[in-house]
Symmetry: C2
DNA sequence: CTGAAAGCGCTTACAG
DNA sequence: CTGAAAGCGCTTACAG
């Protein structure tokens, strides 16, 4: 235990017989140092067990090599995969990922953004695009790159790496209408502070309107993203006097809950009612019946978000990313409605989806 | 855009008419600064929109306020919850959490540990306790606190915040033996670099031995933690000439896969074969049949890991944490074996679990 | 309670 | 290709 506990770059320089600047260059731009010295320096590094101090490096270079990621939650199957993919990509470029959870709460997210800006992070990954403009102003004032995932459009398209939630749910509706469905129910997430949930609901409404259909107020239930909540909502929808012939779920946990509740209520899916999900998580292909849903390319989104950010960090001028494609995956939870049901309007166009 | 883009503590000091040292104190130990000055300083901070620079702070104070967490995976339902709980706890104490995934690979983990030590992090959260002693030496040389989760014993009990995997699976075996089972099959994770999986398997073996039973070699299959892998293994086990009357799964995804495969094979659970899980994730209570399993207190573990680390970071001397309790949750996937099956030995003691 | 000063361990123009 | 020197923006004994 000497007085000086940590070995510094200066120690390495002394042992290698070069200046600290050269050691620094050797670590950051090896090709700019004569090979012979590189060997001596590496030897000194190994001999001393030198570990560079990231804080000092960050301060001197004004780059922390840290990227902050703020996700709504980690305690489900949705965000972990993309985060892991993101971390892997930026990690191999030398960046560390700091995480925080907003718990689907704007105030929490705001605090975390502020903390990350203080850290300071070199870049930021967020989910969704709707937030107080002041937040964006604050981020941009610091001049750090950021990426908005899970959405493809909005005010800041050049920062969005995601897919078109509204278009995806509209696809779903077109398909369901083509099956003959006219009475729709929906279990949605809360839309106030969640533009993904909002877009999915809007997409459903818009597509229904195109078919001269609509979603009745009492057929739309907002619930947190939990299977239990989905069960509860499904039970309510199916206990009404005129239950829907199809229940669209804005998030997959809702659909799992709906399927479980149907089983417990003795309701046949898709015989009596069709059920759809959104995201195509692993369970969707294992439920009974298997779930018709929208596949979202989540890992791919994580990777692309990383590349988008890394390009900006390299100082490249980047174009607005192209929206990622979603896919309608038809499985066994959807079928024609149980009996011919006269639609609320005439002139219904079949099979146009 | 002035030449100096960032406002620094010095700017605040100048505007408030105090020294930089006082501004620093005002932020870190407010009570040591006269109230009147505190107000002036806060005013200056607000007026300038001052954001302290974490890198400089880290360098000067030799504390980065960052904790590194290395988990085997984020892309499943297991580690996200505890990580979120951990982040929440340490976050409210002012710490940032950096994450990385080892992908159940020692070399990956080693690289991430090294990167974190460079960052440098103030503390480290790891999963499991078995790793190259050199790694521990390296961590301890830097003098940073660390916590080993998901395990309760081993060489470094004072760092473990977890539960006794072996005892938990032994409980399960005792219960199954008490039901009358004598022919056991097991789907286990790979045990070479995973001491949790190793302990679960060892616990099963030890408990069986206590009952004069054992696990035949061809009744033990090692698989990655995926439902599909569980399906595959279950299929193999049940296709043998003498299939087991119970399949113990070392991880819950294996059990889900087993249940799905049983359904597809037309095998009645628990009529023909019992199936057990380990962890009690949300799906366990929703499968058909519902799953008998071991409940592990994962969120609580995340919180306790945080408190254990925070106490050390405060410089407190901490005692070895008490192991967390696991619970045998009996549901519908287990029952007596289909027919009286003569055990390999006499003198079997019933109901001793 | 407060300030002047040194220092944390790097990086990076600048000059050669 | 290399070195001397300044500087990144804070914190913290030390003295008062």
């Amino acid at each position: 235990m000497s007085r000086r506990e940590t070995t510094t770059l200066e120690d390495v320089a002394r042992l290698a017989g070069v200046s600290p600047a050269t050691v620094s260059r050797c670590m950051n731009q090896p090709q700019s140092v004569r090979a012979e010295k590189r060997v001596r320096i590496q030897g000194a590094i190994d001999q001393l067990g030198y570990v560079p101090n990231g804080s000092a490096r960050a301060l001197a270079s004004r780059r922390s090599r840290m990227i902050g990621a703020i996700l709504p939650s980690l305690d489900n199957m949705l965000f972990g995969g993309p985060l892991e993919a993101f971390q892997k990509e930026v990690g191999s470029a030398g960046y560390t990922v700091a995480v925080a959870c907003s718990e689907y709460d704007q105030q929490h997210e705001r605090v975390h953004i502020r903390n990350f800006l203080e850290s300071p992070v070199d870049a930021l990954l967020l989910v969704g695009g709707h937030r107080d403009p002041n937040i964006y102003r604050q981020i941009e004032r610091q001049g750090i790159p950021y990426v908005l995932t899970w959405v493809s459009s909005g005010d800041r398209e050049e920062h969005c790496v995601g897919f078109d939630n509204a278009a995806a749910s509209a696809d779903l509706v077109d398909y369901l209408v083509s099956l003959g469905h006219r009475r729709f129910g929906m279990i949605s997430g809360f839309t106030e502070h969640n533009d993904r949930a909002g877009a999915r609901l809007a997409g459903v409404r818009k597509a229904l309107a195109r078919h001269d259909l609509s979603l009745d107020d009492d057929q739309l239930l907002h619930r947190p993203f939990e299977p239990e909540a989905g069960r509860d909502a499904f039970h309510i929808l199916m206990s009404g006097s005129k239950p829907p012939t199809v229940v669209i779920c804005g998030a997959e946990p809702h659909a799992y809950g709906a399927l479980f509740e149907a089983r417990d209520m003795g309701i046949d899916v898709p015989g009596q009612v069709s059920v759809t999900g959104f995201d195509d998580m692993w369970l969707a292909s294992q439920t009974m019946p298997t779930l018709t849903t929208i596949r979202t390319p989540r890992e791919e989104m994580g990777r692309q978000a990383a590349h988008h950010l890394l390009a900006q960090l390299r100082g490249e001028r980047v174009a607005a990313p192209r929206p990622l494609e979603t896919t309608l995956v038809v499985r066994k939870s959807t079928a024609a409605p149980p009996e011919p049901f006269p639609g609320p309007t005439k002139g219904l166009k079949r099979g146009q989806g």
